[in-house]
Symmetry: C2
Subunit: 303 residues, 2 copies
């Protein structure tokens, strides 16, 4: 992954045109509809084991996409869906599981607890619980417990960032991951609050207030960028060319602070030609804009 | 200026295609050549008074583009060219002067001291000297000394940021500006040093080492984002969609830190369809992608 990632498989021109015409929107139905025709015929991976419990809540379920053609030491990726802290489901990201599976990666797609029923730091705690489950169980399924990458998009990236960059969420035996990949997440909750006008965020904010609550005086104390205290590990931070500017600014701030204040050397890249959600739905459609750098990172990261 | 700025006058399709094909490059000759045919016939503003001395160095010269059709209280913009701290000239930005002039704005285009002959903080000091000159003299030329906006692109934005955000560079009587507009600047010198690999910056760095020197231990002490101590003032931060990722990350970090740590409420925008230099050469070509938000900001900012 170099400075700026370019899709290796060009998108169909009409999809790219539709994305550029819509601009920096977040429109789940439109993004999904754009790729539905391509994903209807998508190549599938190997066996899928569904709804393994990794905790006591009904959302504590994960799916395993077993690696195709791998030895018994396949790299492992945990991929957290997005959904603004209040929605989203692993089933809607099955294409991500199939993509990794057919490339010889053991993919773990968990659900995690959501607002308003659950509040910060439930998501980070769930990432940590999945990581503990993975270290205990991936060897039974052909995975290498020493090569686990945590990845997430949008709210999923926010949870992965919190779980990895803040030591209090690390498993007792330490973080012990091969790397983390953060796609278009939010890492500074306080910034979202104070820059609502610039970011075009509704007041009240139906996402953040459901998960982080309405005691705004506590928002800084829940802002990952202010809480970083983990030792450096391999990290990639990406955002889409047509991401809302909040995700772009937050990626820039996190990257800069990690480099200058915490000794990290993250990769950083812009996913060209995509918006916040089109980049995710493009995975396994033949468009490698986000899938390619993600796969390269999962393969290449070393603990 | 809303969250993301869209060009109000569409670029000729072949220019947009050329910019997108080249990607996030910094190529002065190519950017200039793209717009040369359009700028050859550009509409001119009013009278230009050239090479007024504002200090003792041979680079301490500024051009005045007098406002067309204005009363004697025209808004004033000071526009600092870019050039990586080591090159650049106001004559190469004449189109910017003409653009403001014909829109009824008094435009001041200064040269400023460059590396390697001069070192940090010469640029910030020169911005401050131009501001003092402007407050003393714009009324003689139809300008409103109470409505002065400082604007800069690339290294020019870096100098404007330092001169305005760090109190030690303010004139004795205070900053007293209507606002500052920062287009694609660099505000965290230490980040450029530590993230050279990610940003694709050459080692040795011919720009930064010429102006900031090679005592890297001092780089943090010359990083504007670490030195902010000014009271909030109207501010706009922009970068180009195809800017190198370093300018995008630095804009994001500066915006976030100003909002969460210093009480600012800056505007922030992506200039769509442009790279680092095409956005500048597009000014006065009929393409309003950067020119429009800049003009709106100069007109609308109030001290």
């Amino acid at each position: 992954m170099t400075q700026s990632v370019v899709a290796t498989s060009p998108m169909p021109a009409e999809i790219e045109r539709a994305i550029r015409t819509a601009g920096p929107v977040i429109d789940p139905l439109a993004a999904k509809a754009l790729y539905a025709p391509l994903l209807a015929d998508m190549p599938l991976g190997g066996e899928v084991i569904r709804d393994i419990a990794y905790g006591s809540d009904e959302r504590h379920r994960l799916d395993l996409y077993l690696p195709v053609g791998a030895s018994d030491m396949a790299p492992v990726v945990v991929f957290l869906h997005g959904g603004g802290f209040i929605r989203g489901d692993k089933d809607d990201r099955a294409a991500v599981g199939h993509y990794f599976s057919r490339h010889g990666i053991l993919a773990i797609l968990p659900n995690y607890r959501l607002g308003p029923r659950h509040h910060w730091p439930a998501g980070a705690e769930d990432v940590s619980a999945v990581l503990r489950w993975a270290r205990a169980h991936v060897a039974e399924h052909g995975g290498d417990r020493e090569h686990i990458v945590l990845a997430g998009e949008s709210a999923g990236a926010a949870h992965v960032a919190a779980a990895t960059l803040i030591k209090r969420f690390h498993p007792d035996e330490g973080l012990c991951i091969a790397g983390a990949f953060l796609a278009s997440g939010v890492y500074n909750l306080e910034l979202e609050l104070l820059a609502r006008d610039q970011f075009g965020i509704a007041t009240p904010d139906p996402r953040n207030e459901a998960y982080f609550g309405t005691d705004f005086a506590r928002y800084r104390a829940m802002s990952t960028v202010e809480l970083v205290n983990a030792a450096p590990f391999p990290l990639a931070i990406t955002y889409a060319e047509l991401d809302p500017i909040q995700m772009q600014a937050q990626a820039g701030e996190l990257f800069a602070r990690l480099v200058t204040c915490h000794g990290f050397q993250p990769r950083i890249a812009v996913i060209r030609g995509h918006n916040h959600l089109s980049q995710v739905y493009s995975i396994n459609s033949g468009d490698e804009a986000l899938a390619g750098p993600l796969l390269d990172f999962v393969r290449g990261s070393q603990a």
